[in-house]
């Protein structure tokens, strides 16, 4: 059960050509699991999240299969997905907070949303109010306008609305990046609370901020240039990562207590490769200090320890080099 994504490939049509933003991605999220999806900007993490619920007109599924709770999720069929959206699969999009209509009261917006999905506002109201109180907000928030709410309050309202129908899969796209430290925590705790209360079954938290994931996620999936780099339990990814990219990324993050004069951190030189014409072989090769001749071939994403998969030739003993992927 849970979410199973198998060899998913999504490409983006741009004016300059097709970009395979999600390339051969395979992973699964168990029931009750919060999976963090991390990577730098342009690595395909948001495309992956969006593809599971709402394919853009510019996006196309090139291959692969997505299964949710044992049944296939028809992600490239916009009409069929309409029955899943909001009820089974829900998303808190990036900038959702600022997307709230400032001239409408919160209650009115919620009722319109529910009605458009064929649900009765009145019967859902008690549950909504219960959850509003649960996250430490006042029930009279329904009568207020979005401009009267702070960023953290808005984000919490958006979260309650998107999980009101207890979806199987919740995709949270950069929900903490625009928030202050103190409200970040409230929203993070809320994700955990909702999981523990079974308001959502599986959660995918997309962010560029690994330290938030260290707080809320059970497992972390690292993406690099459209491909999977590493997936493992949170403490393993943070404490003993195997992929050189993960290692360098984590060692470059300043933490409270680390000081420049005592311990100078270093970044990763270079930039991610362009996805329009990605280089063959391992995409991290150019920036990787451990690169060797085997890296000219595409490294497979293999499980090296139970629950710990990595795509790196340093850890792929006994696996023969695979051929290059076909073009988009």
């Amino acid at each position: 059960m849970g979410l199973k994504v198998d060899q998913l490939r999504i490409c983006y049509r741009t004016l300059r050509g097709d970009v395979t933003a999600v390339d051969d991605v395979t992973f699964d999220i168990a029931d009750g699991e919060i999976m963090g999806l991390a990577g730098e900007s342009g690595c395909g993490k948001s495309t992956l999240g969006n593809s599971l619920i709402r394919m853009d007109v510019r996006m196309r599924q090139l291959g692969g299969r997505v299964e949710l709770d044992g049944a296939e999720l028809p992600i490239s069929d916009a009409r069929a997905m309409r029955d899943y959206r909001f009820k089974v699969v829900s998303i808190i999009p990036q900038y959702a907070m600022s997307a709230l209509n400032p001239t409408r009261r919160v209650g009115k917006m919620v009722s319109e949303l529910l009605r458009s999905r064929g649900f009765d506002y009145k019967s859902a109201l008690p549950e909504f109010e219960r959850r509003v109180k649960l996250v430490g907000l006042d029930a009279d928030i329904l009568k207020r306008y979005p401009i009267e709410l702070s960023g953290g309050m808005k984000q919490r309202v958006v979260m309650i609305v998107s999980t009101l129908l207890n979806p199987s899969l919740l995709i949270a796209d950069e929900i903490t990046s625009a928030l202050d430290v103190s409200t970040q925590r409230a929203v993070g705790e809320m994700l955990l609370e909702f999981r523990d209360r079974n308001f959502v079954k599986t959660t995918m938290v997309i962010t560029h901020d690994l330290s938030i994931l260290a707080q809320v996620a059970d497992t972390i999936l690292i993406m690099y240039a459209g491909k999977l780099a590493e997936k493992a339990r949170t403490d393993v990814v943070i404490g003993s990562p195997l992929h050189p990219y993960t290692q360098l990324l984590i060692s470059s993050l300043p933490e409270v207590g680390v000081r420049h004069d005592e311990h100078t951190l270093v970044g990763i030189p270079g930039r991610p490769p362009p996805l329009l014409n990605p280089p063959s072989g391992c995409r991290f090769r150019d920036r990787c200090p451990f690169a060797f001749d085997r890296c000219a071939a595409d490294p497979p994403f293999v499980e090296v320890q139970p629950g710990h998969s990595v795509a790196c030739w340093l850890h792929a003993d006994g696996v023969s080099p695979a051929g290059g992927a076909e073009q988009c």
Partner: protein
């Protein structure tokens, strides 16, 4: 070197400026040469307004900002230009810092026109290249390019290189790395920290405590326009005095320390083995009955959240005090080079 004395900024709002909104109140501190000073605050704390006032991009309402003994408020024309020869800034959004219709290296040409009109083109080109190299850029990669062809990190470095072409003594860096990718962030941060070896004073404005802690010698915590705590970075972080500082420190997400880690011993007493420190996730529950672990954790989280809300509330009480009192309460020295605001709520 650059001193702020009781600086206040009040924005007038409403049709005829009838309402006033204090953004900064009674801020007094100094930026010393050869040091990085972090100005830490959340959104709406007035940290960017302070930076803008130092850069003379917005006027102060009252109080004085003085640079090497001169009040900067009255500088005009030639003298203002001389001020900018020594005090420069870099802003948050690298893409908005460049005029999109021109190439990125036009920022150098602008500097030359204003400050070095007599320097020959070839000599200037050499200086620009040397400055770019000193910030870790290859001139070939960045010269002659448009903004959208460069990365955020490269753009911010170009702006630092631009400032270094002048004889700057103070650099105001306003959230300069928040829009840069994680893997190259720390390099810009290191660059900034290294500037102090050239005798520069850097004001590093940020909302991220870990960044401030990483590069700065001194830290100033700003809350709703009021400096609530300041002092040597180590002292502020190791021995926070104000409730607000404490709250920030417990809330900042860290890689190796969970939010609830402070209560780990109590958890153990409840029978939860905290193998991964702090919150038992899906995997660490296995050591006890899943349901029991969950309940134990729920009780635990309730405590944590209650504690966090309580500190926030007490910080709010301080706020009410600050808002209702015209005079900002004075900072008192709790130990050497460590000051905290006195107020009814903070004790």
């Amino acid at each position: 070197m650059l001193t702020l004395d009781n600086v206040t900024k009040v924005y007038k709002t409403g049709t005829f400026g009838g309402e006033s909104l204090p953004a900064v109140r009674g801020a007094s501190f100094e930026i010393r040469p050869g040091e990085v000073t972090s100005l830490i605050g959340e959104s709406g704390s007035g940290k960017s307004t302070l930076g803008k006032m130092i850069l003379r991009l917005t006027p102060v309402t009252s109080g004085t900002i003085s640079f090497e003994g001169t009040d900067v408020a009255g500088l005009k024309g030639k003298r203002l230009r001389e001020y900018y020869r020594h005090v420069q800034g870099v802003f948050q959004d690298p893409f908005s810092s460049y005029n999109p219709v021109f190439r990125a290296d036009r920022v150098f040409a602008t500097i030359k026109r204003s400050y070095f009109p007599s320097v020959s083109n070839s000599e200037w080109h050499g200086r620009v290249e040397a400055s770019l190299e000193s910030v870790g850029l290859n001139p070939v990669d960045v010269l002659d390019k448009f903004t959208h062809q460069l990365s955020g990190g490269q753009l911010q470095r170009i702006l630092i290189a631009r400032a270094l072409l002048l004889e700057i003594k103070i650099l105001v860096a306003d959230e300069i790395i928040s829009m840069i990718d994680a893997s190259t962030r720390v390099d810009v941060l290191n660059l900034l920290a290294n500037l102090k070896s050239r005798g520069l004073g850097v004001l590093f404005i940020t909302h991220d405590l870990s960044l401030g802690n990483y590069i700065s010698e001194r830290t100033i915590i700003l809350r709703r326009g009021v400096v609530v705590e300041m002092g040597a970075t180590q002292k502020v972080f190791d021995n926070p005095q104000h409730d607000y500082t404490k709250m920030l420190l417990t809330a900042v997400p860290q890689l190796h320390k969970k939010w609830g880690a402070g209560l780990a011993p109590e958890l153990e007493a409840m029978g939860v083995t905290s193998e991964g420190e702090g919150r038992p996730g899906r995997y660490s529950r296995s050591s006890m009955h899943p349901l029991a672990a969950m309940h134990a954790w729920k009780g635990h989280r309730a405590q944590v959240v209650a504690a966090a809300l309580e500190t926030a509330a007490s910080a709010d009480r301080t706020d009410t005090y600050l808002r209702t009192h015209e005079e900002v309460p004075p900072l008192v020295e709790v130990e050497e080079d460590h000051f905290v605001v006195t107020s009814a709520g903070a004790e």
